[in-house]
Symmetry: C2
Subunit: 614 residues, 2 copies
């Protein structure tokens, strides 16, 4: 690797993704030998010392149990340790390097047992599709897993055969022979095909007393330690030129080239066009005249504008760009659009790599299929990645395709991340956007771009009428009050805002008047929500009804937690009732029928509201 | 396929898993021609008629938009439509067939674009590992995806090469040549290796006007229809013996053999041993004497007992059986233990196949890595599968390994499923178990076995003191009251029950006395929770504090929703405050330090309680 231990931020330096994250102590030890820079920012950096290694896994240490750049180890680009994700991160780094004109190579070390994870093979396909020959994959084949031996399906021979079948060039070597390692590495990037090095290794190598037995996760005992170290010192001296040895290999890293990236415009200072201009640029010039547009289409147009304004915005999709409408971005910025095909796990981890290299990646699929990558989403959060996830066809209003295509627990899942604070200890780890119309979708896309951190947006299949004036104001934590009524507040988001309006028409005939609150983002600022709820009348509780087109734990739980926490003795209690999808949905021909089947259609909302007021 | 259209429940009949679920209309049409049985149970079955096909995707129809046995189409074993999962389901069916002594073959049809999903290759490894040669995989290579052409990485040639490298026998054929199809199928099960048929196909085949262009998800126009049908009729007559044709192939299914399975004992009637006997049988004879045991160990012993009592209980693990303690089951019942290696997606979908064949599968990994298969979990729920998921090392008390190994949004995710009702419209779609000690873990395992439906249990790494007498009573929806105090209720589960007890010791010095509620399962029966909360004193709100060692949206949201819904005018309001992990965790050396870093340790709980009472 060409890199400068003092400057892990150099965009031309080579990178290592340690996909088998549990092997990280050896990297910490080597980095300490080199005095590599650690710290949460360039300004706070200091060289790692050998004594620091004793702090491994302690609360104060940058040396977390698994690779974790978020705790101040900038040698790494992404948190690993949940296996099988590193090669995808390497692919994302390679995409960014190509855009940047950087000559960097990206090395990824993958365990043999780890290569059982299907995502490794998604990444193998993706790297060939996009000719990312800057990636060099190294498979560490020691044959030992946690609970037993690695399957023969993950033997060095089988892994080599698989890689060849996937279109890779392979080199199978003795992973303890420095000359063989050096020669194999020298072949990286020299072929039309990406290079994978399949290294046969032995756990406990170099020490005869350790080479037998399973050492997975077990330290050497104190009384064996000195003998083992002595064996290793001899081997190092014999095999390398380190410490005056006679071996073939020099272990000092060569210096990387210099590369200065173009300064990028600040997302906060971008001059966004008006809603109408943006929609027209995306092919929806008649949106205001027609008075309706699907939120997924408005998002597609907004994303294209983001790409116009900010060269760091990039886009990934999983073979559904004609459904998510990321195709509008693709047509405008083809060099920044990456087709991932039907492999969502690789898509999300590649987005983490792009983010680590300074890009703002938007990863798109049906909201249901984003769930395929929820573990990768969590690893993105631990990596502090600036990844934007956009799921289309959310909720039950997709209707005819049935439940296998509907996102249902997604709001609860992402709300869980939204409940936690980011490193600044004030803003949330994740923000969730649930736009109810095209105007909201446009502004929520802008909010996602402006925010540095994980975001999730839900878009909808149906065409929906516009609710907002083009210049309506949307803010992090905000709510919109769409109607005022004294009897209760109805809180909804996305499609359910429209459904709640229909319910309010039904209730109006009984003179029930509700305040309608559009909760277009999570987390909700508690003060803004509480202000928007009608005040109490004598002898009556303040009443709130929340309805959503997903399984429970989303907006309803958010509102219930805020309101239940605000109750005080001597004040009128706040009573919150929540309604969400009641059963596993099935195919229906219309969105309205899907909502009725799920128990959340307008007449059902009206019934629940009447029961709440009774 | 050998099967009887009138009896899709025959355990010896061959099965088809249509992994590329969007192709289901052709199966419905063929099944209608054969008058195949539809209905949600054998008793409610009726033959499908040709006229029923017009009901495709309507609310009343068994013919859902994608394969969905839950709506009454028992020809299928699992819901598909989220791509890449069917081959794993087929593997699970094959495991069950072997245990049953059934000669059935299991055919799985997989799209070319679909085979980009890594899970397909996890299944390919698993099928070879377990020699599941009853599975015959058919790859349908038409080259068309949704947003564009299928990648060359998924060409028939490349798929064939990959399958060979994975250790499969392959046959590449013209997918429109009945004789070639019949010959290829005749080879299934005749080799030491599983067979994959790679079929080159043309979308719109048989009709010259349709063979060009992309027909993904698009119906034929009305004015083309008659000409297209005429072409197809000619082709069918030429290629088959159907309708008096001269072709080589007979399309009528051969009759399956008869097979009568041993009747299985009812899980509800199993005679479970006492806690102490069960623990002793699992190797923890000294648990009561020592007074402590990790919940993961108690679960492992309980699972072994379940296997002793019920031959239908089977177990899957993902290379961590020495951490989850499913190894106790493995050692006792090796023929019912299936090592899945590091491939959680395949593990969960294989469990769905086992469940469809009448088994009760327990799938185990670290709780964090169960998240790798959350989309498969959702498909299991749509399949109405009786799958039990058990995640160990949950929450932050795993400590030293760091956040990549900690389950954090898991309670919110599974609570979302627990909020929805199952097909009986009374019990929840999923139950979540959060045992705080070994006794609770034992009884929760029993509850999981007794319940027919999706379950999730969280177990913990640390050794924990026993809280309960061996005969303590645990019930669906129940809570346990561990202490009584008038000032407030503290609700906790799992490790946090112990932490709450420590907080109560700190509070006792200030004469603050709390009722301690162990919420060991979700959903909580609202009445039981409300009864357990101390009643109001004059002029004071009823106060509840909830603490959990995961991200938000779990027990706190459950309690807040119940209490916020119970508030009434004229009664003392219930004020609920929730506390959960506040930030992304990092490695620490001890569980206590991890809790403190996350903001949920005993002194912090005590501070929050004092603030609530102030």
């Amino acid at each position: 690797m060409a890199y400068d231990p003092a400057d892990p931020w150099n965009p031309a330096a080579d990178r290592l993704v340690l996909s088998e994250g549990h092997a990280v102590p050896i990297v910490y030890a080597a980095y300490a030998d080199l005095g590599g820079a650690v710290g949460k920012s360039r300004e706070a950096a200091r060289p790692l010392g050998v004594a620091d290694v004793d702090g491994l896994r302690t609360r104060e240490s940058e040396l977390d149990g698994h690779p974790n750049p978020g705790e101040g180890f900038p040698f790494f680009d992404a948190a690993t340790g949940s296996l099988g994700q590193g090669l995808s991160v390497a692919a994302g780094l390679a995409l960014a390097a190509r855009l940047d004109g950087s000559p960097r190579r990206i090395y990824a070390i993958i365990g043999d047992g780890e290569s059982r994870e299907g995502q490794v093979w998604e990444a193998a396909d993706f790297i060939v599709d996009h000719k990312l020959n800057a990636v060099c994959a190294i498979f560490n084949c020691n044959g030992q897993g946690q609970a037993g031996l690695v399957s023969k399906q993950q033997s060095a021979e089988r892994i080599t055969a698989k890689l060849e079948a996937f279109g890779w060039k392979t080199a199978t070597i003795d992973g303890h022979d420095p000359a063989a390692i050096e020669h194999a590495l020298s072949q990286a990037g020299r072929s039309e095909r990406p290079l994978a090095i399949v290294a046969r290794t032995v756990k406990g190598w170099g020490s005869p007393e350790l080479q037998e037995g399973n050492w997975h996760g077990k330290p050497v005992s104190a009384n064996q330690l000195e003998a083992v170290c002595e064996h290793l010192r001899e081997n190092v001296a014999n095999l390398t030129r380190e410490s005056g040895g006679a071996g073939a290999v020099d272990l000092r890293p060569p210096a990387p080239p210099k590369l200065k990236l173009e300064p990028r415009p600040s997302p906060a200072e971008a001059a966004w066009p008006s809603f109408e201009e943006a929609m027209a640029a995306g092919g929806f010039a008649d949106v205001v005249k027609k008075g309706k547009l699907a939120t997924r289409k408005a998002y597609g147009a907004a994303l294209k504008v983001a790409g116009d304004l900010l060269p760091q915005v990039v886009c990934l999709d999983a073979d559904v760009s004609n459904s998510t409408f990321s195709e509008i971005f693709r047509d405008a910025h083809p060099e920044r659009f990456f087709e991932c095909k039907i492999a969502e796990q690789n898509m999300v981890s590649a987005a983490v790599g792009l983010s680590a290299a300074g890009r703002i990646p938007f990863a798109n699929s049906f909201a249901k299929f984003i769930a395929r990558a929820y573990d990768q989403v969590e690893m993105a959060s631990i990596s502090r990645a600036n990844v934007k996830l956009v799921g289309s066809h959310a909720g039950v209003t997709l209707a005819a395709d049935g439940p296998s295509q509907m996102a249902l627990p997604d709001v609860a899942y992402f709300r869980s991340f939204a409940s936690v604070r980011g490193d600044d200890r004030s803003t949330p780890l994740c923000r969730v956007y649930l736009p109810a119309d095209a105007v909201a979708a446009y502004h929520c896309t802008r909010l996602m771009v402006e925010r540095d951190g994980l975001c999730y947006m839900r878009t909808l299949r149906p065409e929906l009428p516009l609710l907002y004036a083009a210049a309506a104001r949307f803010e992090p934590g905000g709510v919109q009050t769409l109607a005022n009524g004294d009897d209760l507040a109805i809180v909804a988001s996305g499609y359910m805002v429209h459904e709640a309006r229909r319910a309010m028409e039904l209730l109006a005939s009984q003179r029930i008047r509700a305040t309608l609150i559009d909760a277009y983002t999570l987390p909700i600022d508690p003060e803004r929500l509480l202000e928007a709820i009608p005040s109490a009348r004598p002898g009556v509780a303040r009443r709130v009804f929340v309805v959503e087109d997903n399984y429970g734990g989303g907006v309803g739980a958010e509102v219930a937690e805020i309101c239940a926490g605000a109750n005080k003795a001597g004040e009128a209690p706040i009573c919150v009732r929540t309604l969400h999808v009641q059963c596993i949905p099935k195919s229906t021909l219309t969105a309205e029928d899907a909502l009725d089947y799920a128990g959340v259609a307008a007449p059902q909302i009206a019934d629940h509201v009447r029961a709440l007021l009774a």
